[in-house]
Symmetry: C2
Subunit: 382 residues, 2 copies
């Protein structure tokens, strides 16, 4: 049949160009056919941007990639280039600052972070297969489910992972983990950047985690009646109302869950850690498994007064809560030291809690991927 221009365009987009002379390999987060960003075996990353009229171009991004803005160098064709020092493996947001304007890299996919669509870079970690998709194991489905919230008056989107076997074992019911994102990200973070579905697929295939349903929703909410929201406690209350009165009932109605506290876990990262502890520790009738990843640093944690005094009776708490678990990366020092301090003061008070430390990672997704990989196997064990 006659070839068309559009099909040729598509093939051009979809096909790789020859690249014999280039060092390294295109990053896996590149759009199809893009040669840059490129990774070398020692984890340096080379970026390029064509911006022939620009006076100054900087590379900026997550701390595991660039600690401070890196100046890029212009060649005679107007292409700017920079190579980073060896980077931390995992996922990093990044962007170019072109004469003061923050712009994305057309060569990379975008992910929602920093309150906006932001370029992202995936750097494989040698020996870390736990978040890599495997072809020969059963895998679950990640589903998008929209619902109109009466609390907020707005449509919300939950992502729901149903585990392998969910389709065929139509009488089996599953425990549920509710997992929250951090500030500036959204309800796709755990699915895309966090690879939560792949992590659970792998753990379940290895027999290390129980098959479970995973629910990821947005952590943002404000009451429909408020036009302007500058009140933290109102926003917290709105989120908690959505979670307890809308999301959990929706999931329990629509999916084959085990709808009791012993089969319901909640965890979150950063802002989502704060939300999880605030909500779950005050609603132990609803949750028996609780996790906080890279929680916001807090001073003056008092085991007797925190969370309305839930820790005052350690024996009662330990009987009721099956797991209280924390994590942080060693490179996010304030988060790490604050979390360790809370964990230690809880243990001194007789409250059982677990702490997972992610070596060498900052306030970034590699910390949270590893955290989920540590947390999920502990869930629903009794």
């Amino acid at each position: 049949m006659k070839t068309t221009l559009l099909i040729l365009l598509a093939l051009t987009l979809a096909s790789a160009r020859p690249c014999a002379a280039l060092e390294g390999t295109p990053a896996p987060s590149n759009v199809s056919g893009a040669e840059y960003p490129r990774l070398t075996t020692d984890l340096r990353v080379t970026f390029q941007l064509k911006a022939s009229q620009a006076q100054q171009v900087l590379l900026e991004g997550g701390a595991g990639l660039v600690k401070a803005p890196l100046a890029m160098t212009r060649d005679e064709t107007g292409t700017w280039t920079v190579t980073t020092p060896p980077a931390v493996p995992g996922f990093h947001y990044y962007w170019f600052t072109v004469d003061g304007l923050r712009v994305n890299d057309p060569a990379s996919y975008a992910w929602f972070g920093w309150g906006r669509e932001t370029s992202g870079l995936e750097i494989p970690e040698e020996g870390s297969e736990f978040y890599t998709r495997r072809p020969n194991i059963p895998s679950g489905d990640v589903r998008e489910r929209w619902y109109l919230s009466k609390t907020t008056g707005q449509w919300r989107r939950a992502h729901v992972y149903t585990p392998p076997g969910y389709e065929s074992k139509t009488r089996t019911r599953y425990p549920v983990l509710y997992l929250l994102h951090g500030a500036g990200e959204n309800e796709r973070g755990w699915v895309e950047q966090g690879r939560a579905g792949t992590i659970l697929d792998n753990l379940i295939a290895e027999g290390k985690a129980k098959p479970m349903i995973l629910v990821v929703d947005s952590g943002y909410a404000r009451f429909a009646s408020q036009t302007v929201d500058t009140n933290r406690s109102a926003a917290t209350a709105a989120f908690e109302t959505v979670m307890l009165e809308e999301l959990i009932p929706l999931i329990d109605a629509h999916y084959r869950t085990r709808a009791d506290r012993r089969h319901r876990a909640m965890a979150g990262l950063s802002m989502g850690s704060g939300q999880t502890l605030n909500l779950a520790l005050r609603h132990l009738d609803r949750f028996a498994w609780i996790g906080g990843m890279s929680g916001p640093p807090r001073a003056g944690f008092d085991v007797n007064t925190a969370y309305d005094g839930v820790f005052r009776d350690p024996a009662a708490f330990n009987r009721k809560v099956r797991l209280l678990w924390f994590s942080a990366g060693t490179a996010e020092e304030r988060f790490h030291s604050s979390t360790v301090a809370i964990h230690e003061s809880l243990n001194r008070a007789g409250i059982k809690s677990v702490f997972y430390s992610s070596p060498g990672t900052d306030h970034e997704w590699q910390t949270w991927r590893r955290s989920l990989h540590d947390f999920a196997p502990r869930l629903f064990r009794d």
Copy 2:
């Protein structure tokens, strides 16, 4: 509890600012809290970008939004502004060209189009409710399913819509529509820009379409053994191999499909229309329902030789093919006239075919949303 900086940041991102003096309303495609782009009731759109060091900023995008680049005007604070003439309702890609550099709008979400992440604008159409989510009807799930293709050696992602009732009627099997995107877009196009799930939810709730499974995959493929793909027929063959030997068997194995030609449809838009006709008309043992939306213009269509002569015996064709259907928008003149010409020459030759014409829309998603809304109710009727 103690308020943290991160939670405050999140609330700032999530909350609307007061806007008493601004004309119009923020577009529904804006990120949370962004006041621009703004829509007025006569469908003009005002865009803003802060770029204080820029010398020239242009607004560019889809033809239904801006026919040609529109110069933006700088104010004393370095904010550039422009208001378009009244735009065509629906979804439009757009971007800013800042001193020659194409950049996205931080105030809008990004969608994959033009081979890259691109800002998008949704303009509601008065009276068009068919692609609007409704709270009080049952809705299906859109699922992401990854698979490692032996043909291409790469992971591919299919989006699978399962209709309302799929969860509860665990013995019911469903017909399947395979739907392809166009050049420069990807396997999320029909889900995000096209709103295919919502369109089917609404049609099914109204009793206008049969409950069906919808599958959207990538239209790009090249054989694993090819390093560089500049050969159209090889790419076509790779895509067809993936579709026939991998995707369809995967879907039939994993979901409760009716796995025969009478319950299998294929359609696509633009490049995907070409792919659909090339594949389905040569594999009538696999498909009985065939649709082409905004097919690439083609000269010299010969009903006797096209698609290996499949139209040579009209009586046999009409007995075998339950639906051959085409569509185009009146504003995409070359696509429209070419499609009409093919449709008319088929009908002159005694081949039954249907043509849907979308009034006033160009080579854009509003054409394809309306096309799906016309096509889906015709499927699986006998």
